[in-house]
Symmetry: C2
């Protein structure tokens, strides 16, 4: 059961037209981060959704995913697994390359980050096309982990991320059509 929603989290999302390019309406989360009550409420609502899934580890891709993953991991008493761009992690890594609108991107996770069979959730601020979160989930699975959920502050429905990652049971607090 979700924590009661005391404030409307949408009031703390700023709409920025034409960023990063013309025609795109960017959903800026910095007003929410700046408001301690709203940020706390968002974290508590995500934690309430994830707690029944018996989470052992929380994984997230840099950079904004870290802002949500760290407090969620602490609240769930779960370990935190940073997923990073190529070349940032110092030890042996697993990597996954995925398609962007133009070109590709590669994410890496430490090869020893997850024990086989551990229960993992993947967290990010925004679910758009689902490409990044799917790459994170694939990394978790390459390491032998079980993805028991994904959680996001925001989803951008028209981009189809929810359908793409349906098998990972996504939770989103704010949905934009």
């Amino acid at each position: 059961m979700a924590t009661p929603q005391v404030v409307d989290l949408r009031d703390y999302i700023r709409n920025v037209p034409d960023f990063p390019k013309p025609g795109i309406l960017f959903r800026d989360i910095t007003p929410l981060l700046k408001n301690p009550g709203a940020f706390r409420q968002a974290i508590e609502m995500l934690v309430a959704e994830l707690r029944p899934r018996q989470v052992e580890l929380v994984a997230a891709a840099e950079a904004r995913g870290f802002l949500f993953a760290a407090p969620i991991a602490l609240a769930l008493e779960a370990g935190l697994i940073p997923i990073r761009k190529s070349g940032k992690l110092p030890c042996q890594t697993l990597s996954h390359t995925y398609q962007l609108e133009y070109g590709t991107d590669t994410l890496e996770m430490h090869a020893d980050a997850i024990q086989p069979g551990q229960r993992v959730v993947v967290v990010d601020d925004v679910l758009a096309t689902g490409g990044t979160v799917e790459a994170c989930c694939r990394l978790v699975e390459k390491a032998g982990g079980i993805v028991v959920g994904c959680a996001f502050l925001i989803e951008l429905r028209p981009l189809g991320g929810r359908e793409r990652i349906a098998r990972y049971h996504p939770v989103c607090l704010i949905s934009y059509d």
Copy 2:
């Protein structure tokens, strides 16, 4: 007063020789992040040091700084201000360019992130030369904020960061000579 140290946080830092290049001993924090008790203790110790400074905002540069800034901001009931590489923030920004070993780097903060006179701490995982944290502090000051402290999990003493940012009253939990 600091929270009693139940575990030795050093036991959760992995030393990786020759990363990112030969001759460098990298201090890898991922084992600490993966251990919920150790990560919680680190956050609680930093919060205990910062609480008396009457912090209104916690600022941090991407990416690893976010891992510490988010839980610290929530614990202090302070706002969280993300500082990012060029071009990532959607609204009007302040920017600061600083010297790296080879070349320069630029960090940006939203121009409306801080009200003049607000009390701000800057958080990061590692204090090395102090270049990044100094750039963050300069951004806070450009916006009219008052830097009332800086906090780090680790400091690398020989790199002189503590001296460089002494005026910002740094706190570090683990010091390596």
